[in-house]
Symmetry: C2
Subunit: 154 residues, 2 copies
């Protein structure tokens, strides 16, 4: 049950944002390493009857953001998580629901990230994400840097 509470809290934070509610996003799966978000195609469709690029970008960015946020929540740390930059590649049109999977880049570890955050009140995570279609073909991918900052004490 330990893992359920942070993911619920993150899903609530996601759904507190009007643009995220418009995507009709939900947290689909989290196994401790990879986090999956899913959104239906209908509210995210473009004029060519496939998934809108902006929605693909949003769902991948949010999956990565959510994974960083869950890792901090699990460790009992309060933080604001921001995306700093991202490289997005759109390879194939997607005609299925938008299922984004996010994970930490293999050259980094969550221990290192959390240690850095505890020591400096700030840490960076290099994240990867992708969306595959129902047949398993990768339709788009993200490489991005996310920063976690300890809340300022005003």
């Amino acid at each position: 049950m330990d893992l359920i509470i942070p993911t619920h809290r993150i899903e609530q934070r996601l759904l507190s944002m009007p643009p995220v509610r418009a995507l009709q996003l939900r947290l689909h799966h989290y196994d401790g390493e990879r986090l999956h978000l899913v959104a239906p195609l209908a509210p995210n469709i473009n004029d060519k009857a496939n998934a809108f690029g902006g929605s693909l970008a949003s769902v991948m960015t949010l999956a990565a953001w959510a994974l960083v946020s869950v890792k901090l929540e699990e460790a009992g740390l309060e933080a604001d998580v921001y995306v700093q930059d991202s490289m997005l590649r759109y390879r194939h049109p997607l005609y299925d629901e938008l299922t984004a999977e996010a994970w930490l880049a293999p050259e980094q570890s969550w221990e290192q990230f959390l240690t850095s955050f505890r020591q400096r009140g700030k840490a960076r995570a290099q994240m990867l994400a992708r969306i595959c279609n129902a047949a398993g073909t990768e339709c788009c991918s993200l490489e991005g840097r996310f920063v976690a900052l300890a809340p300022r004490e005003d």
Copy 2:
């Protein structure tokens, strides 16, 4: 009046997409070289009371997409325009409305792009976009490649 019809047509195409309607986007300005889209902050706000990263990405991507589409419409060419890849940088949180400005990268020309499209039924445009806050500070930017394809004759 020549320039008004293509921009109206593109705005209608934008607003035909449910995720774009959710952004409450409108075409703000087009001077033949730069195209501006604007969206209010309220439907695009995050949990930190500033503009949601996914909405920033969407509005910049759409401004670039719209400019490529308008250029093709003006030339009387029918095409499907897709984003292929984009590099997004988020520099400062935005607390104002989302006004995205898009333009062609300086190393390319629209003549070259349209000639290539007419000859091959396919052309690539390297696009730039940014969103500044009300004080004029650049909050985020996009560099992306867009491809225009002649509709397939099935």
